[in-house]
């Protein structure tokens, strides 16, 4: 548990000043980065309700081998995330699965905790992707970074984009998930999150 030293880490006044000087308002992100945790902090900002989407296919496209994902009757985003990560964990027989935002903040997790702190993983992932991008050039994006330690199960970190945010999904232990296979998983996650978002916004519109 990190110890908070003195008042260096109280940036509320500075953050407010930056918003004034930049002309922005605090906006919650997928993980509620700038907002206090709330039951819906994990969902995206409410948007004008778009046209109703086509029903989301329940199974993973392609050959993920993870089987059917059954959409839960989720009222809060946490419930959907938990169902998605549990589906991934069971499908891969993994020890733990977690999701975090592009700043290393946890969105949700099931099973065992990652043996590397999320912030460290994010820093390593960012460094690796930047370095590899510099060497490999355009068109060969890095999708997965694996972390290994002698006495631990290997852990893989993947990422995908959703509503302009980068979501990182970590898997420790279990069957290894290829980057291409992960694309199918990511597609399911995107569809489920989008469907949940639309449903929630419509519900809020009904209440409003």
């Amino acid at each position: 548990m990190p110890v908070q030293h003195r008042a260096y880490f109280e940036l509320g006044v500075a953050a407010e000043l930056t918003r004034r000087l930049r002309g922005t308002q605090a906006a919650p992100t997928v993980a509620g980065r700038a907002a206090a945790p709330s039951p819906t902090a994990l969902a995206p900002e409410p948007q004008p309700a778009p046209p109703a989407p086509a029903p989301a296919p329940a199974a993973v496209a392609g050959s993920s081998g993870l089987g059917t994902f059954h959409t839960p009757e989720a009222r809060y985003a946490e419930e959907l995330w938990e169902a998605l990560l549990r589906w991934l964990k069971e499908g891969l027989d993994a020890e733990g699965v977690f999701a975090m935002d592009q700043h290393g903040f946890s969105i949700a997790g099931v099973g065992s905790e990652p043996f590397v702190p999320p912030e460290v993983m994010l820093a390593a992932f960012t460094s690796m992707t930047q370095l590899l991008d510099a060497y490999l050039g355009e068109g060969q994006p890095v999708r997965k970074v694996e972390f290994t330690a002698e006495d631990r199960s290997p852990m893989a970190l993947f990422h995908f984009s959703w509503t302009g945010q980068t979501i990182l999904v970590g898997v420790s232990g279990g069957r290894r998930l290829g980057a291409e296979e992960f694309a199918g998983v990511a597609a399911v996650m995107e569809r489920e999150l989008e469907a949940f978002s639309v449903k929630r916004n419509q519900a809020e519109g009904d209440v409003g």
Binding site: H5, A15, E119, T126
Partner: protein, 269 residues
């Protein structure tokens, strides 16, 4: 297109202002944007990092005091589109007078007017909020604030933001905060990690840039060799690519400003 004039400033010293100015300037030029990096610090950090020891050249000081023209002081580099304007030689006893001169509108104003053909002018300010920094904030369109990923640096961020707010209220209403950049991040140091975590937690994505500059020996080596970090490997050192990513973030942010949308920052990955 109008020149984007960026004051790179920090209340605290040693946070990487010159590193940021030089390497960002190179990255912007490599991306096709004519850029001049202007040194306002009489310590001559920029010139010292690029010139052989003991060698001096005229610069901003000589330009504003009228002993040379801007054209004579401006240093063209071998990178197309990148020019440097070093501080010039400032007698230590005259440093305060130099700062006072830069604080006046007639100090930096004519220099920037003469540089209006540039897409970017990056002003590498001295630490603190002396006359040179106030002068730069008075003529800049944007402020870019490096935050050293160490606790003391966090404390100084508020001070420079308050200074910027004061200048905007009284002197330069068009001044915009371009953003904050985390510098010298050492992920093996708990305190450094704490600073980064606090910054990620409290600053909005539209304010804090995604690109984080690590603490790395290659920056010291680059300074030793008198070159930008990108030149430390054949082709381009990966750390040079990092500054290109920052430059790309800045360009996207400016493009959003132009269309009047301050949306969330683009993802780094």
């Amino acid at each position: 297109m109008e020149t984007t004039r960026v004051a790179i400033c920090s209340h605290k010293g040693g946070v990487g202002k010159t590193t940021l100015a030089l390497n960002l300037g190179l990255a912007l030029a490599q991306l096709g944007h004519r850029t001049t990096v202007m040194e306002l610090d009489s310590q001559e950090s920029l010139a010292a990092s690029l010139l052989r020891p003991g060698r001096t050249m005229p610069g901003l000081h000589e330009v504003v005091t009228g002993s040379v023209t801007l054209g004579e002081a401006l240093v063209a580099t071998k990178v197309p589109g990148l020019s440097l304007l070093p501080a010039g030689h400032v007698d230590p006893l005259e440093a305060v007078g130099f700062q006072s001169l830069l604080a006046q509108p007639e100090g930096l104003g004519p220099v920037l007017e003469a540089l209006k053909g540039e897409r970017f002018v990056l002003m590498d300010c001295p630490s603190g909020v002396g006359g040179a920094t106030l002068g730069a904030l008075g003529v800049a369109t944007h402020t870019l604030i490096p935050i050293q990923a160490e606790p003391l640096s966090l404390r100084s961020v508020q001070l420079v933001l308050e200074t910027m707010a004061g200048v905007r209220d009284r002197r330069n209403p068009d001044l915009e905060l371009l953003g904050l950049v985390l510098m010298m991040f050492d992920r093996d140091a708990d305190a450094s990690m704490e600073v980064v975590r606090a910054a990620w937690r409290d600053f909005d994505p539209e304010v804090l840039f995604e690109t984080v500059v690590p603490r790395s020996p290659v920056y010291l080596d680059a300074s030793l060799h008198g070159v930008p970090v990108a030149f430390m490997a054949p082709g381009m050192h990966p750390e040079g690519r990092r500054f290109q990513m920052l430059a790309e973030e800045i360009l996207r942010r400016l493009a959003r400003e132009e269309v009047g949308h301050a949306g969330p920052a683009q993802s780094l990955l």
